[in-house]
Homo-oligomer: 890 residues x 2
């Protein structure tokens, strides 16, 4: 940029498209000017000038001349002169970056006033009170914002003056009183700055412009930018605009409004105004503003103009607007327009309404909603107005909020629930034995365990709120209480947990109920029209399968067969199976399990009629179905030391012996998944039989069943080859017995790096791939999720080592590289290989975008995230075609 | 192959180069014929004919005509006719695949005999006894090998005949007696096969040829091929050769010999002969053969010819030969030559001698030794002649054999050792507390734990024999005994373990002592001339560093700092450090550890003067330095139940509390490696200081120190970046304090898939990479090594799911793909990046070949494997240039 650079733009020269150069406010003013709305004239000093200022620590050459020239144009337009003692031109000076940002210098009104010009203003307006009120405002704002003297310093002056005249508001002071106030303010300024207040309007303007530029780098703004990842290099523009006055009497006012209701989304403006006031009064809260509709009565012409302007702005911007205006002696002037922030619910309604009104297209409506907006609408939440006392924070393991009385074990949860009580189940950690407690409780709170701990995974699957890994909480089962800091919470005490944020609160908190609206359904139907990925759900029960289908899932991507093992009535049978000493004995017990599993599959297949259901063969290590080792060790040791005998000890010893035999150093990497299937083929023979008998029976009953049998934890193609042999043999046998042909597939989880690295070979034995990104992230990073989240993730996040939790957002560089490699290699072997993902990333928007780009066919997530995934899938497709996802929700 | 295919080759037509077509035996006979040695004429039916036979289950068209034509040529050459009643031509029929293989049909001698021709033979040789002895032999061999009637079935006939004439050997029977035997044999054959014995010599020949072809697929041969990975498609040839007779009297003989001593490698033939015998007699053990040198006295002309032939064969084949010969009436005939099998020690001596003799080049000498041959020479072994009673088998965790009295804890090991006893330490599993027991014991035997269990890794590092994971062994600490099957072994009983094979033997076993010879050193010096990879050692103590240097290591590739923590006098300090409640408290304890670590580094740096030493910062999870959780739980529970109190309980409770706090579900993937360094930077600050103070001090003393500080378990570039900051700051500080500049590097282990996938980014912060292929294999496969080896590897191996253990031999498809990717990406960022490997694969030949091909700079392995790695590195380079590695060791 040389001396010829253009730094200054009249409002007539700009437009909405020039937001980067002129900032949001400047572009809005220019656009409104361009479309003929009543905007007081002015000009914008560009963001490029801000960069130049930052670089040289001085206004760049040429800027001031251009600003003066623009000021001259203003003077000519309005027939007033800046600094004129008779009819002085006054201006406002306001900052405006491309992204709105708190902490920046905001607004100086009435700039240009001094001892001379204030008199001219008084004479010209024939209103001395107005003139000195304006002067007082200007002095205070200038002192605050430009000279750095906090407003509170002037409070004493104002209090004293009001007391003397016995009035409540400055505006009611006598002109003489106001004059006195102005004098005292100037004296204070001189005392503070050891310089007289700058009387020269040009000096005032220069100082104000520099103050705006400097404020770009003030600590609060810098912190905000860092937090919200706003580029340092954006810079701010400065808007200099001729003043209009809302404080010229009762036919004058200032106000703010939304063109639609930002809470509900209703198609009716909503706003407030204050007669005889200037801008900041409305938001300052000193006087109570009036609802905008009262304007119809008090200044009807301005109200008509306001309505017309709202309509025009919405048509023009094709979105709900947040505006500022001033009415000067009955005439409306627009000072700002921008996209209005709104609640998630409002965002949905506005998007759908605007499509219906023909303002926006379906695709635009879809891009107007963020996936997290939907999440808000699907779970109970704390009432945002409620005052809450957060006593601890854990992991946001399963979203939604719940209140209830604290109980410390699953049996209590059940019996209290049966007495009609709402309970929160609090445990150090949970295991399959607690499962009935999950059903009974409103929510689950654990001291240990990460985002994939038993508690977290089960709660998410059930859609129950859960806060896990709340390490500050010290649970004492014996005393039936937990301690957190100074608080002791006893059994029966009421607490509230917020699984969306991890907060734990004492007492009950008022909630907002979720309510999927017609707009909710409408928008998702539109979203599906744009998606390339389709969305399945992870569901293990007929109930969840139905729920998933209600939410729009077009199949089950992950049905965990072992979840069924954890049912209260089945666990003893499963344990018998594990304790079996011979294959024959085990097969006998499996015969008992088979009809139970078959019933589950019948339910799920029926619920998913015509949609595919992916069933994963047994995955977890067997010890997970037994009591925990530490507890058994302690119990057995104690009972023996005390010389106790009897059947209880016998059983515990039997369990302990088996648990010790099954004990592994790193069970995550041990005997589980297909390794278990290979060692105990009788288990998957039973599961294959249960699947196929259900499928054959239902096929006869007219249900269309599409089972996809999925082999977990494959790392070597031979593992899949061998498991497949067992499964195929059993499936063929069952179909033979029933004389029915079922359209089934056998495929594999991709959750081990080696499977991805050799995906071309794995694909030879697979009808489909489904990425298990939880395990794949664990092995790719070498993190045990539970351990990592409890031990060092917090630290890693603070130190910036990990920018995000890779178990929540897919790690594209590492895990993503394996996913891409696997897709490419798998499709090299089988070009039409069906590929999906059923890890938790399947419900996370940024990860879904990655899966879309990587060419997957579908994502699968928990039923409650299906709507979110559907929207994210649509966004991914639309973004690929160049669309921007805009968020205007608060 | 049509009707024109050539199936039959005269010996004159073939050569050594035609081994695939003619089989090893056929090619050897052809080659000897070609170079003018006295070989009875004959022809070979090719391996292609074998394929054709297998494909069509019949001799292919044209074969029989070609065979008859070749037979005609034989007749013309020898002036005898096949089936002639006056002077019959007899032949031997022998199988011969390209690879020698037990279980195949072997030899039929004297084929062509029948009731007519035997008389002709008797008349022509003027020796009736010879003729009927030959007939008897033929009938028995034919019956056994072609008709499938086991030799033993004839035993009664022979016993009866010998008894009747009161002689010990068949050869001493009267002609009439022999005739009677032949008749009885033929009767038995008829009774068994329900067909008369085939009198027609052509039928005999046809049946014999078909029997050879069929034997290719007999179960024993098929099993052998599978086990030794010999291709099914090789097939066998059939050699038809004119008979010469070693059973024509005392001037006739048959014999076998080696051209050099196959045990010691001494340059002197070694062999045996039996006068008046046919081939199989020498090896059958019925008569005791004479040492070959006696031939000089008994048949001197044949002996002279034998010596000349040995020399000629060695010059021709340029290797030690294993030959078969027959002497017929004073004249030597050669029946077979092949490369002679030899012991490892002989292989070494022969290779080096032959280079010295100018027979072979250095490169050839190097390719003549297999890496495993060297291993044999480096460890004590069971005397191969000893009879051993193997009572159990575990994992071959650390090679070598050891005998000693059983003790069950480390303290006992120490006190018994102090009483001058040799002990074997037997534990269920070991932990750092047992370390003094390792030093005291001759060998270690554990019931649990895989190839990378504590016991295995520590034992290998010390070069002590170890058998781990011997699951059949049930150890009872309380009774101080273990049970294995029916055997009970008590404290003090002597056992022997073989860590090279995993065998556990009751009692002491005679051993062979290892003895690296001059040839050993010579050959490795030659090997180094061809290697591109250089070899470092993994060593944690000055003693091991010295040993490594003696074995030819040119640096330390892995010095595990935490190993030093396990010393008896340091462990209490390390535990204090872990129990510390604040950073300050921990720093205080670390100050005590620093001088100890510094001393170790001084020792190692001094031993490695001028060579680089790679020091890995603390890696294992902290709980590994504390007593085991299960034991603490049991002890504390019991003591409390019994109402005990006191300092012992207090300490155990303190440990237990910490152990529970540190407890992780999957410690392999938990808080360890650089994660630990980041959470407790004070530990690595201490370690960096110890390294650099040692380096600075020694530099002043004139030692050239090249420390390479290595960060373990990096998965994300930011982890390395942050650790590096801490290390660099401390190193710079120490160098500043000493006023010394040390040439140090900071690099990273590559042992997490993600590090490999993002190696370009990791390289930005690394001066070097060193692959940790143990952990990389664990994470790439998703296997916890200990768990996998104990639980399912055996099964995987049996089922052919894994062809080999990927923790022993690098998995090229999966782990190798990551290694290659990391090398490529790392060098994209830093073209000269130094890259090595310090996992256990660094000492495994096939893996070393891979690392050579992947472009690594060095491999590092345990000191005892350095010679093996040096040889393997040379082999890799030579193979890349087209050399073949030949193994002739038994």
């Amino acid at each position: 940029m040389g001396a010829t650079s253009k730094w200054v733009y009249d409002f007539e020269e700009g437009s909405a498209a020039m937001k980067t150069l002129l900032g949001g406010k400047g572009a809005g003013l220019a656009e409104m000017t361009r479309i003929g709305l009543p905007v007081p004239p002015g000009f914008t000093i560009s963001t490029e000038a801000c960069h130049a200022y930052q670089a040289g620590n001085a206004l760049p050459p040429g800027l001031w001349d251009q600003a003066l020239e623009a000021l001259r144009k203003l003077e000519r337009k309005l027939g007033q002169r800046f600094g004129d003692a008779v009819s002085p031109l006054l201006v406002s000076v306001r900052s405006g970056a491309a992204v709105s940002m708190p902490g920046m210098m905001d607004t100086v009104l009435n700039l240009g006033l001094n001892e001379q010009t204030v008199k001219g203003l008084a004479q010209h307006a024939a209103n001395e009170r107005f003139a000195y009120d304006s002067y007082r405002r200007f002095l205070m704002m200038f002192a605050d914002i430009v000279l750095g003297i906090k407003k509170e310093r002037f409070e004493e002056i104002l209090t004293h003056a009001r007391g003397k005249e016995k009035v409540d508001r400055e505006i009611d002071l006598s002109p003489a009183g106001l004059q006195g106030v102005c004098r005292q303010i100037k004296d204070l300024i001189q005392a503070e700055t050891r310089q007289p207040f700058p009387e020269d309007p040009y000096k005032q303007l220069e100082l104000a412009v520099i103050a705006v530029f400097k404020s770009w780098n003030n600590p609060r703004a810098a912190t905000y930018r860092k937090q919200y990842k706003i580029s340092e290099s954006l810079g701010t523009a400065v808007n200099v605009q001729a003043m209009v006055y809302g404080n010229m009497g009762e036919d004058s006012a200032s106000g703010v409004a939304f063109t639609r209701n930002p809470s509900s989304g209703d198609k009716h403006w909503m706003g407030e105004f204050l007669p005889n006031s200037q801008g900041e009064d409305v938001v300052a809260g000193i006087r109570t503003p009036h609802p905008i509709d009262q304007l119809e009565r008090t200044i009807p012409a301005a109200f008509r103009e306001f309505k017309r302007t709202c309509e025009l702005l919405e048509k023009h911007y094709r979105d709900m607007q947040d505006i500022e205006f001033t009415i000067q002696k009955g005439k409306l002037y627009m000072l700002q327009t921008r996209t209005g922030k709104r609640t998630a619910q409002a965002a949905l309604k506005i998007a759908v309404d605007m499509e219906n009104e023909g303002l926006i297209t379906k695709a635009e409506a879809v891009t107007r909603i963020q996936p997290q907006d939907l999440e808000q609408l699907l779970h109970k939440q704390f009432d945002p107005n409620a005052k809450v006392q957060v006593v601890a924070k854990g992991l946001n393991a399963s979203p939604g909020a719940a209140s209830g009385q604290v109980v410390f074990d699953a049996d209590d949860a059940e019996s209290w629930r049966d007495q009609g009580k709402n309970v929160i189940l609090v445990r150090i950690e949970t295991n399959p034995e607690d499962i009935h407690g999950f059903f009974a409780a409103q929510g689950i709170l654990t001291a240990r365990g990460g985002m994939s701990s038993h508690a977290a995974v089960v709660a998410r699957g059930m859609g129950k709120p859960c806060v896990s890994g709340c390490e500050e909480m010290k649970v004492d089962y014996a005393k039936k209480q937990f301690r957190v800091g100074a608080h002791v919470v006893r059994e029966g005490d009421t607490i509230t947990i917020d699984g969306s944020t991890g907060r734990v609160v004492l007492g009950a908190v008022p909630m907002i109920e979720p309510e999927p609206t017609d707009e909710f359904r409408q928008l998702l139907t539109w979203a599906d029209e744009y998606s390339r990925l389709y969305v399945r759900a992870n569901a293990d029960t007929p109930k969840n399968a139905k729920r998933a289908r209600d939410f729009g899932a077009v199949g089950i991507g992950l049905c965990r067969t072992e979840r069924m093992f954890n049912d209260v009535d089945r666990l003893p049978v499963v344990r018998q199976m594990i304790l079996a000493k011979t294959t024959e004995e085990r097969e006998k017990v499996l015969e008992k399990l088979m009809p139970m599993q078959k019933e589950d599959f019948r339910g799920i297949f029926s619920a998913m009629d015509e949609f595919p259901v992916t069933i994963r063969l047994i995955d977890p290590p067997l010890h997970e179905f037994l009591p925990m080792k530490d507890e058994l060790l302690v119990d057995v040791t104690r009972m023996k030391a005390l010389g106790q005998t009897g059947p209880e000890l016998d059983e515990k010893e039997r369990f302990l012996e088996k648990v010790m035999e099954l004990d592994e150093q790193n069970p995550m990497l041990g005997l589980r998944g297909c390794r278990l299937s290979l060692m105990y083929p009788e288990i998957i023979r039973m599961q294959s039989r249960a699947i196929m008998e259900a499928a054959c029976e239902l096929t006869k009953e007219g249900v269309r069943v599409l089972p996809e049998i999925m082999v977990p934890l494959v790392g070597h193609p031979n593992e899949l080859r061998e498991v497949r042999k067992v499964v195929e043999a059993e499936c063929q046998a069952v179909m033979g017995e029933h004389g029915i042909k079922v359209d089934y597939k056998v495929g594999t989880m991709m959750e081990i790096p080696r499977a991805c690295l050799t995906a071309d070979m794995v694909a030879e034995h697979a009808d489909f791939f489904s990425f298990g990104t939880n395990d794949l992230t664990q092995t790719t990073f070498g993190y045990s999720r539970d351990d990592a989240e409890a031990r060092f993730f917090q630290y890693y996040h603070e130190k910036g080592i990990l920018k995000y939790n890779p178990f929540e957002i897919l790690d594209r560089d590492g895990v993503g590289a394996l996913v891409k490699m696997a897709v490419e290699k798998g499709r090299k072997t089988k070009p039409k290989l069906k590929i999906g993902i059923c890890g938790e990333h399947g419900g996370e928007p940024s990860s879904i975008e990655f899966f879309h780009l990587a060419g997957l066919d579908y994502v699968s997530c928990s039923p409650f995230r299906v709507p979110i995934a559907r929207l994210a899938a649509a966004h991914a497709a639309l973004k690929e075609k160049g669309a921007t996802i805009v968020s205007a929700t608060v």
